[in-house]
Symmetry: C2
Subunit: 171 residues, 2 copies
């Protein structure tokens, strides 16, 4: 069986641990994680200045069909990504394929902008929960919410169960 | 007539110009602007590291009744403020009094979390527009939207008309 591949959508000012914890755990399990940004080879810095990441690919050079799951770390990164229709459309197409989407903290903002949250059970950062509720999502203030292909969590403290759920979805 | 007083709700990583431009214009016109944060005497820095602001008062020490208008600059500040129920409740009470509320860029996030946006004509930063729409607001992609006591704008480029509208509301 081919090695699973995960697409990670990232912009600057991401929540440092929300990249590092899943990234280290996934790559440690032999899974390829491509960091996908506005352009390839760009150095991105976390909002706490603890982590940096080099984008492997530009969003223009990837297709949802090439990946087995999608990872969306939080921080201010998702609000930057959703200002760019290329990322919103990538998420929309990924969901249409029914492949696992794991979004933590502010990550679900991308799902909201993609118009996908109505009626979905999910969670997110406490301030984002209000937006999701107002958009018609079935919001739960829990560490991990699973709904069909969606894996959502609230914050860095939830990263253990979040990452395990993402790993499990790839088995 | 007493000098008008404006309450400005602020946290760190605000959009620098969205504090500076209205603040300078209002204080230059003889209007008192109180910068209100989580606690008094706190130094806050803009997200572009161009501006700093010292909070005049803590949210615990102010009442909507003490002010003639409310100013909510954007950047990442509003998402931090709305994580704290004291700010959300202040906005809710301010709106109940029907006094002018001027929110720019991410500022309308506070109005959304306060549960006030349904059916209101308004605008905001492009990514926030999606949240507002999903929450039932009548969103317009225009530099300035006026609806009863609300004054909303999208971004730094709109600050001229935004600030003039706020000034006019105080006359």
């Amino acid at each position: 069986m081919a090695k699973p591949k995960v697409a990670c959508l990232l912009a600057g000012d991401f929540e440092d641990s929300e990249l590092k914890v899943p990234y280290d755990r996934l790559t440690g399990a032999g899974i390829q994680v491509d960091i996908i940004g506005g352009r390839a080879g760009e150095q991105l810095e976390g909002k706490r200045h603890e982590e940096t990441a080099l984008t492997d690919k530009s969003i223009d050079g990837v297709r949802p069909e090439d990946y087995d799951a999608l990872l969306i770390p939080g921080g201010y990164s998702p609000d930057k990504l959703r200002a760019d229709e290329r990322f919103v459309e990538f998420v929309r197409r990924f969901d249409r394929l029914g492949k696992p989407i794991a979004a933590v903290c502010h990550g679900p903002q991308l799902l909201l902008t993609a118009g996908l949250v109505k009626g979905r059970a999910m969670t997110g950062w406490k301030t984002v929960q209000a937006d999701l509720k107002a958009a018609g999502a079935d919001v739960r203030d829990e560490p991990l919410v699973l709904d069909r292909n969606w894996i959502t969590s609230r914050k860095p403290e939830d990263l253990g169960v979040f990452t395990e759920a993402l790993l499990k979805s790839l088995r």
